[in-house]
């Protein structure tokens, strides 16, 4: 078995409002696979996503302990360069949130704040990212239009493209298709299937069908606990834990 990309040990998180979002979660995320984190809402999946690239810093947190490592990097470390971390671990949110800039600027934003100034280089990277996100052919002649002017499905792929432009190692997707139509959803899923050879992918699916379709590895979260973590197939066909069985068979959630 390959070395895990991200190692999570005993991760505990409580928000200022007293809610315990994660109650001692341990999980290894493998590279070049799609890891699906699923379960009923409030289970801690989104909090996990926020912790991994330290967007959790923007929330009011009461207590956070445990260990999260990516290679030699201690993700939760006090001195960790979070800006650098967020370039290595990109995130796509549940709704498309284009910045109020042009299409081009949305993709180049991350590169520019990282210090890239060369216009030619920027153009290359933007085009490359848009192609990778299967969006280039649809919008190559409108790069200077406001990002809000394209369709919702295109916007979400734009959000994906601006993450890809940074050449991240890990991509976190938090219910990325929940606001999309089936066609756009399929495009995102197709992308993920081909992209997994280059990236480590953690997907919070927006329903169980998607979970079953996409999962190489699957992690079932329930009320802040990781109940079961196994291969995608065994999870949905032959879950071991009783609670997983009940959820997968649709008895609750």
């Amino acid at each position: 078995m390959t070395e895990p990309k991200i190692q999570i040990r005993d991760l505990y998180l409580r928000y200022s409002d007293g809610k315990e979002a994660l109650k001692g979660v341990s999980l290894d995320i493998q590279p070049n696979l799609i890891t699906v984190a699923f379960g009923p809402s409030g289970g801690g999946k989104s909090s996990l996503v926020k912790v991994l690239n330290r967007l959790i810093d923007l929330s009011d947190v009461d207590e956070m302990r445990g260990e999260v490592r990516m290679g030699d990097l201690n993700i939760l470390g006090k001195d960790t360069d979070v800006v650098e971390l967020r370039r290595r671990i990109g995130v796509v949110f549940s709704r498309p949130i284009p910045l109020p800039l042009t299409i081009f600027e949305n993709v180049s934003f991350g590169l520019e704040v990282a210090g890239m100034r060369d216009k030619k280089k920027l153009s290359e990277r933007v085009e490359q990212a848009l192609r990778e996100a299967v969006l280039w052919d649809e919008i190559y002649d409108r790069l200077d239009d406001p990002a809000a002017s394209i369709s919702g499905g295109q916007q979400q792929r734009l959000c994906l493209a601006r993450v890809l432009a940074l050449k991240p190692e890990v991509i976190l997707l938090d219910e990325p298709t929940s606001a999309l139509d089936p066609v756009s959803t399929a495009k995102i899923e197709e992308f993920l299937e081909t992209a997994k050879k280059d990236y480590t992918i953690l997907l919070v699916p927006h329903n169980q069908q998607q979970a079953a379709r996409m999962a190489d590895k699957a992690a079932f979260f329930l009320q802040g606990e990781l109940v079961e973590y196994t291969d995608g197939e065994s999870m949905f066909i032959n879950p071991r834990d009783k609670r997983t069985q009940e959820y997968v068979q649709g008895r609750f959630g």
């Binding site: 923007l58 949130i97 109020p100 704040v113």
Partner: protein, 294 residues
């Protein structure tokens, strides 16, 4: 307007519908009384002052003890004061607005700042004048000068700029900040590249309204920078200056035998200044609203 079924019972011999009619007419009358004098004043000033406005009036020095000639030094002085006020109050006001909107936690210190801003906003203009006299003119030894007056007006303008900046920034959705940071931007990069441009129209509106107020004020510059009469234009920030509002005060109360043409002409020029700024501010506001993407 909504329509509702009409109950028939009555009180004091009139139906409720009749009482509503009377009430509405009364409120309409009140609004009319409020608004008409303003429109009347504006029309009156335009009519009485318009005929006196000429290129010469705007660009020549006063003569005959200010009873004739132009008002150039007052116009120039007002520009200088506005520029000086803008120079100090805009950077400080915007920075403070950014702090309150983007960085400040809900702490006692922050509340203290808010109380201070509210208090600054309520200090009477003549008290600003006293303060400017005490601090800038005497203590800092800037003398009665454009510098002292601009600094005084800046502090008076500050609360307006701070609050409008804060409000404009807060109206930009929080999610853009999260996205900016998630793409590896620092907080400051996200603010300057994404949030601030979106808030700019609101901030500009606030700046213009703040400066509009500063331009029209007399009391704060009475003892800090304004002078009765200046035979030449001010040449340094340490010179005293004439200014439109103070000039109006002087020629309407201190100079006997004043020609009413000069008076109304000067008032009209100040009104054009002020209402022009008001107009620009509302144009910016409505254009920004139409262009907004969120």
């Amino acid at each position: 307007m909504r329509r509702y079924p009409e109950p028939k019972e009555s009180r004091f011999g009139i139906t409720r519908q009749q009482s509503q009619k009377i009430g509405f007419s009364f409120i309409r009358l009140i609004s009319l009384i409020t608004v008409l004098p303003i429109l009347g004043i504006i029309v009156y000033i335009i009519v009485k002052g318009g005929s006196h406005i000429s290129w010469e009036f705007l660009t020549s020095m006063p003569s005959d003890g200010m009873r004739a000639g132009g008002i150039l030094p007052a116009i120039v002085g007002t520009f200088y004061l506005m520029a000086g006020t803008a120079l100090f109050s805009i950077p400080l006001g915007i920075a403070a607005g950014i702090y309150l909107s983007e960085y400040a936690q809900d702490s006692y210190w922050t509340r203290f700042i808010r109380v201070a801003i509210i208090s600054l906003g309520g200090v009477p203009s003549v008290v600003y004048g006293l303060f400017g006299l005490g601090l800038f003119v005497l203590f800092c030894n800037f003398g009665i000068s454009i510098l002292s007056a601009s600094l005084t007006l800046s502090i008076m303008t500050l609360p307006v700029i701070i609050s409008t900046t804060e409000e404009a920034l807060r109206s930009v959705p929080y999610r853009f900040r999260v996205v900016g940071v998630s793409l590896g931007g620092t907080q400051w990069q996200t603010i300057t590249r994404v949030i601030l441009p979106q808030a700019l129209p609101g901030i500009l509106t606030g700046i213009i309204l703040g400066l509009e107020r500063a331009v029209g004020e007399t009391a704060p510059i009475l003892f800090t920078g304004a002078t009765f009469y200046l035979p030449h234009l001010p040449s340094s920030p340490l010179d005293a200056t004439m200014a439109l509002p103070y000039h109006i005060y002087v020629i309407s109360t201190q100079v006997p035998g004043m020609s009413s043409g000069v008076q109304y002409g000067t008032v009209l020029v100040l009104m054009v200044f002020v209402l022009g700024m008001n107009l620009i501010a509302s144009l910016i506001r409505s254009r920004a609203r139409a262009k907004r993407q969120w």
